[in-house]
């Protein structure tokens, strides 16, 4: 199918304001979702669901959350993992302490709790700007991690400070197989991604970008600084919180606060930088790059190198190649994979005529 928008005219604003104004894009997106929901469950296996797709989707969600805050609202954060932790432990405790609470409600609750915490740590953003703002998120990162290990109440007094998530049962349907957990995760992530897309193309999204691009002008237009920034922090934390809950419930089953340490926060930040700041698609591309590439490299080295090659060497080779690829892709397109994809599409649109 060739990629052409020739002959497609938008006759209504609602038509022009769709997420995918171009027909081919709509079809492609539809196909992708169709495959993800209807085909993958039948062709995939436990390894793919349990070890690749679920973590990929969850981290994409977290990256999406951070992208709303950093990519759209321009507020840098190095503490996304802490809010995942809040989500995970909130969901666990909600399930534990509220009798007969539905898992989905627990997830939503987890998101809201995380949003609340996010609000608090967002407050300094009114005064502290730019890279210095990172410090507040670092404070969040370390203090939250500390609090969760410090007070046994959060882990229901587990001697090793680990929580093991409750079973996922929705309307009597048990989500105990990898494929079911995959479908649940996919559904949640797809919905939240759609919501994110809607937010960034409406009033609040424009307000975020305005604050990001030129805060004085935004203020003169009448956009309230604090409220807009705090909304960004809350929504972003909500996404991270839900992601954290899924990490505990749909993926690992057991988590400790250390599972959400600074490295995780950085990992998520890398995702949005590599994927593309201020791009929903970029969050997913970035997650794919950061999560899947190392695994791919690990598989590749074991398949390619003879068994005689020492394990230490292969492991370090993976690191080296990974680092090299990061630099390479940035040199290729500093604005991230999403931009690369966009440019590719524009080229395709004009093809075969260069101008």
């Amino acid at each position: 199918m060739i990629y052409r928008e020739a002959g497609q005219f938008q006759t209504t604003y609602s038509g022009d304001m769709r997420i995918f104004p171009i027909r081919q894009d709509r079809i492609a997106a539809g196909l992708l979702l169709g495959i993800a929901f209807l085909v993958v469950p039948f062709v995939g296996n436990d390894y793919w669901f349990g070890a690749i797709l679920i973590p990929f989707l969850i981290l994409s969600l977290a990256a999406l959350g951070l992208n709303l805050l950093t990519g759209y609202a321009g507020q840098i954060s190095l503490g996304s993992a802490a809010f995942m932790a809040v989500g995970a432990f909130a969901a666990f405790n909600l399930m534990l302490r509220v009798q007969g609470l539905s898992v989905l409600l627990a997830f939503a609750g987890a998101g809201l709790v995380a949003a609340g915490v996010g609000l608090v740590f967002g407050l300094p953003s009114l005064r502290i700007k730019g890279f210095y703002l990172a410090v507040t998120s670092l404070a969040a990162q370390f203090s939250i991690e500390w609090v969760l290990t410090r007070f046994p109440w959060f882990t229901n007094h587990n001697p090793s400070g680990v929580i093991s998530a409750q079973k996922i049962v929705i309307l009597g349907l048990r989500f105990d197989t990898p494929v079911r957990r995959y479908l649940l995760t996919l559904a949640i992530v797809a919905l939240l991604a759609l919501a994110a897309k809607n937010l960034v193309r409406s009033r609040v999204g424009r307000a975020w970008m305005a604050v990001r691009d030129m805060d004085v002008a935004a203020e003169v237009i009448g956009i309230p600084m604090l409220r807009t920034k705090l909304t960004a922090f809350a929504v972003s934390s909500f996404y991270c919180g839900v992601a954290g809950a899924l990490w505990a419930f749909a993926y690992l089953g057991t988590v400790e606060p250390q599972a959400f340490d600074l490295n995780r926060s950085f990992q998520i930040l890398f995702m949005i930088i590599i994927g593309g700041m201020g791009s929903i698609l970029g969050s997913f591309l970035g997650a794919a790059f950061i999560v899947l590439l190392p695994i791919l490299l690990n598989v590749a080295t074991h398949a390619l190198l003879p068994a005689s090659v020492s394990g230490s060497l292969t492991s370090n080779l993976e690191l080296i190649v990974f680092g090299g690829l990061i630099v390479f892709f940035l040199a290729l397109e500093p604005h991230g994979l999403a931009r690369l994809w966009q440019i590719g599409k524009e080229k395709l649109r004009l093809w075969p005529f260069p101008h």
Binding site: G50, T149, P159, S164, T254, E256, Q258, G311, S312
Partner: protein, 440 residues
């Protein structure tokens, strides 16, 4: 730097590399979810080096176990839970009969795979780490924290201190500081210590060191103020040498610092240099090369042009390496036991599980294995997945570890009830009905 040279050679060799050989029917696959990069690489390379070399030795010496060749594949976990789970899922199906048994050398990953492994019917062995209450085999049929767990170790340690003081009754009124890593692992022994403090009437102060612990000025100044009789060092990675150095700085006697076995490797003391001399650490196995089994490995794996898994031969016989050797012994003995019941063929994880549960390495068997003194007798059962529990204590003299005690048994009268209580709680949380071992 010869190794450097060869390594650089390999770096270049990546492109034109051959494909790995396929697996054939008479092979038993053992997955190797190792970590060879990152802050804990020293431990990962050492233990998995010994593990792999032992299997290699069995293959070369007696064609595997009863003619069943042992095969393995490594998978880099980077000591991260999610990477570990990925490795588990990737390797669990490999080989003609699937993965026989998993060893992750990581408490976090072990926790993360318990439910998966139980569902997949693949045993998970965690020697000296992992989920303590999994020692209750009735609730955790597929998890084996063999030889000894953290709580057992801790009771043995208090006994050792009692010995030093001249009797457990002498512990009354003594002051002990528990300097622990600020992680789930670090906090795990707090309850068992508090319990013993009550029982023996000593006071215990828990002081946390924030990860990674490369600065402990304040903690040790506090300790100097407290003037404790003993300091238990529950360290992790870089925290250990720093603790010893800082102890020296504030002038706390090293021979009154007692480390856990994750603070008791050469890597933990050598960086501290002088400051580490006299420091005592617990261990469920000694270091050193003067055991027949080590000679065997040396003979078959590191001679005749055959290259073992270690890049740096100086690590042969070091603590981590020996821990790998005994990991190899435990795993392969379990497979051997299982073969006796299910036949001399590649076995499924479920069959190996039976082997682990009925594992019985007595003194006679230890002699045959040439591991007397390296490994304590281990006898697991449906009820008890620990099967050992005794500790040896060794002291660092600046060059090497010297064993200064015989096997000191743990105090199961304290540990077992805690384990059963904790396991029962887990069973309730998960809706598991514990097995009735009389029916096994």
């Amino acid at each position: 730097m010869k190794h450097a040279a060869t390594r650089i050679g390999f770096l270049a060799l990546l492109a034109g590399a051959a494909l790995a050989p396929r697996l054939s029917a008479q092979e038993q696959f053992i997955p190797m979810p190792s970590y060879r990069v990152g802050p804990y690489a020293a431990g990962g390379t050492g233990v998995f080096g010994g593990f792999i070399d032992y299997l290699d030795m069995l293959n070369l010496r007696d064609k595997g176990i009863n003619g069943v060749k042992l095969t393995w594949e490594e998978c880099e976990t980077e000591y991260k839970n999610d990477r570990g789970v990925e490795c588990y899922e990737r390797l669990k199906g490999k080989g003609p009969t699937g993965a026989a048994v998993f060893n992750f050398l990581s408490t976090g990953i072990t926790y993360a795979v318990i439910e998966r492994a139980t569902a997949d019917k693949i045993p998970v062995v965690s020697i000296g780490y992992g989920r303590t209450d999994a020692s209750d085999g009735r609730v955790f049929p597929y998890v084996f924290p063999l030889i000894t767990n953290y709580w057992s170790q801790n009771t043995a340690k208090i006994r050792f201190i009692g010995m030093k003081e001249g009797g457990m009754d002498k512990l009354k009124g003594k002051k002990i500081v528990n300097l622990h890593h600020g992680s789930a692992y670090g906090k795990e022994t707090i309850p068992v210590l508090d319990l013993q403090a009550k029982k023996y009437g000593f006071t215990v102060t828990h002081i946390e060191v924030a990860h990674p612990g490369n600065e402990q000025e304040s903690q040790w100044l506090q300790i100097r103020q407290l003037k404790p009789d003993w300091v238990i060092l529950r360290g992790w990675g870089v925290m250990n040498p720093v603790a010893l150095k800082t102890a020296a700085k504030v002038g706390y006697p090293r021979d009154h610092i007692i480390g856990v076995w994750w603070s008791g490797a050469e890597e933990d003391v050598e960086p501290a240099g002088e400051a580490a001399i006299g420091y005592i650490a617990a261990g469920f196995h000694p270091s050193g090369t003067d055991f027949p089994v080590m000679k065997e490995v040396q003979k078959y794996v590191y001679s005749g042009g055959h290259k073992g898994n270690l890049e740096d031969l100086s690590r042969f016989g070091k603590t981590y390496y020996n821990r790998g050797i005994i990991t190899g012994i435990i795993n392969t003995e379990a497979i051997r036991t299982a073969q006796a019941k299910f036949g001399k063929k590649p076995l499924t994880g479920e069959q190996v599980r039976w082997g682990l549960e009925n594992l019985n390495i007595d003194d006679k068997r230890l002699k045959e294995l040439g591991a007397v003194g390296l490994l304590q007798p281990v006898k697991a059962s449906c009820k008890d997945h620990e099967g050992g529990g005794a500790i040896k204590f060794q002291q660092w003299d600046g060059k090497k570890w010297n064993v200064i005690t015989d096997w000191i048994p743990s105090d199961q009268s304290i540990v077992r009830p805690m384990i059963e209580e904790s396991a029962a709680a887990y069973a309730r949380e998960k809706g598991i009905t514990p097995r009735d071992c009389s029916k096994e």
